[in-house]
Symmetry: C2
Subunit: 346 residues, 2 copies
């Protein structure tokens, strides 16, 4: 299926409005999802909207949930997501972190009582577009094992960092703390492909190349072993433990759990206002110079390029905005379902 | 060689005093180094002191360098390390981050014009001992390659995170963004051991199990491929780019470069005062509960335990404080050299 980026965003917007969400929240949420699609991160984009809508219909996500500040200080705030859609609470919290950073230089905002927030990079990049450094991370229902454990211990807790680069798109690091994101296993299973050994273990903790064992059984592996496990645990602390929310197995799956229940996801957003610091106005220029130096380094023998984090995603987006998106089968299926909901003829 | 932890610290203190450093700085620096040794991280402890002393003797590290605040705001500060020993500037900067966090809730301190700071965890743990969350990270001379590159691009830029856990030692995550720290290759080479494939590549970018190719040629691999490369780049931004210091190949090796030159290392320290946040006084209890839940999870078939980050290091330290340290050959050699400098009979 081929579709324009703007048409996809309009469809998401319309579907969320039809589900009873207010116009501004629906627009903002659809744009977050389609931003991920436009980067080629189809696993975290509009594909997930039918699942979110199922939770809205059943009451697990509150269509009228409005995030509110529970407590705050000069450089921090704790936000109650009020069971709103993950994108609604996350944009609210990220923008509050930016406001804190604007006045104090640094801002941390913990978001509780939220849901799956999609691609972490969608929030971190808001900081970079504002000339700041930004971070976004979240916990999730356990899918990833830990060294010494059998079965899942923590979510694939994603982490994103963004920084402005003068004259080009922001540096954008966005990764799951599992070896690969679960979405890649779903995609492989849907297409009947095997996956490389080391991505997933079966129920007994044995490595397997069959992506379909998961998530019914088995677990993803943590990236870089104990290091990825440690980073995921740090994210669990910053999102769930600080906000006093559900942690580890207390968090429900947004896609598989009873849709009438709140999932209890938490997230954390940080921003650093480098513009307030000495030479901060030239940070983007210094990052552009660093990018230039990295690209000029000797290349690996097999040829190719040294990419900056996010460079592939921004190139994908440029082409998507120019030529439209060619949707994989599972995303096209979601679009069909959204069109049905909205009474739109394909 | 067997030695008491306190005796090792006294030796480091004495050697730094003899080199002309003031008593308080010498004491604090020796204690940072011996803390790493007491965790079993011998690659980042007293073993490196003869190399630091060579730089002090030659002028690359200033024995009387006193860090000073260049600029600051409610939640941040930029510190000039004044070419002091890495430990002196880093403790100053971490403690300033804690002070900022105490008043604003969060504190970031960038440290420029410093040197190799040893084990990142030594600074992050100061936050946990104060009931806060803490981070420490630093750049270094390039030793690690990047996807698509041939040769070294970034340092093995270390990252540490610490959090208080009620009734036990802090959670302590401390890792190099290379697959393994360079010190492990030195140790393997010194002992004539091969290393697992995937740790290091040769001059042509080919994987090798011979640790001795590095650092004369070749490069370490980044942990988890592009993810570790991205994290190292984030650390480079937070330490060097924000403080306007040398970055990537502009940073000199503290051990190999002309000891009369400043190395130009930068570092970043962050602290978050959870005690100011709702329920923050009970964060340590919630982390203890999380630790209990993790330890109670099903274990891998080969037996063993699920460790919390830092658990192995704290157990090592407990035993070291009780029974003393059994030093590996290269550390014992450094101790011999320090004793010679101090005129102490072995």
């Amino acid at each position: 299926m081929h579709i324009e980026v703007g048409v996809l965003a309009d469809l998401g917007h319309a579907a969320l409005c039809r589900a009873g969400m207010k116009d501004t929240d629906a627009r903002l949420s659809a744009e977050v999802l389609v931003l991920a699609d436009s980067w080629g991160i189809f696993t975290h984009g509009i594909k997930n909207l039918p699942g979110y809508l199922r939770r809205i219909d059943a009451g697990g996500i509150r269509r009228d949930g409005q995030p509110r500040v529970i407590a705050e200080g000069p450089a921090w705030a704790i936000v109650d997501g009020a069971q709103s859609l993950g994108m609604v609470g996350s944009v609210f919290a990220m923008d509050l972190a930016l406001a804190k950073a604007r006045s104090a230089g640094f801002g941390y905002v913990g978001l509780g009582n939220s849901c799956h927030f999609g691609a972490a990079g969608c929030y971190a990049v808001r900081a970079a577009h504002d000339g700041m450094l930004g971070w976004a991370m979240a916990n999730d229902t356990p899918t990833v094992t830990a060294p010494g454990a059998r079965g899942a211990v923590l979510g694939s807790n994603p982490f994103a960092f963004a920084a402005p680069v003068e004259g080009e798109d922001p540096l954008l690091l966005d990764f799951a703390t599992s070896t690969v994101a679960g979405g890649k296993l779903f995609a492989a299973a849907a297409e009947g492909r095997k996956v490389p050994e080391g991505w997933v273990v079966d129920d007994a903790g044995r490595p397997t190349t069959d992506p379909s064992v998961w998530p019914k059984a088995g677990a993803l592996t943590p990236m870089a072993g104990h290091k990825g496990y440690g980073i995921a645990l740090m994210i669990e602390v910053l999102s769930a433990v600080v906000t006093q929310g559900p942690a580890m197995a207390e968090v429900l799956s947004w896609s598989f759990a009873d849709p009438s229940l709140p999932t209890g996801h938490s997230a954390a957003f940080l921003a650093m206002n480098v513009r307030a610091m000495p030479g901060g106005e030239a940070l983007g220029r210094r990052l552009a110079e660093m990018a230039r130096r990295i690209r000029a380094l000797p290349k690996a023998p097999e040829g190719g390029r040294i990419l900056l984090p996010g460079e592939r995603e921004w190139a994908f987006r440029k082409r998507a905005l120019r030529e439209g998106l060619e949707l994989p089968g599972d995303v096209a299926h979601a679009v069909d379902r959204l069109r049905e909901r909205c009474g739109i003829q394909p």
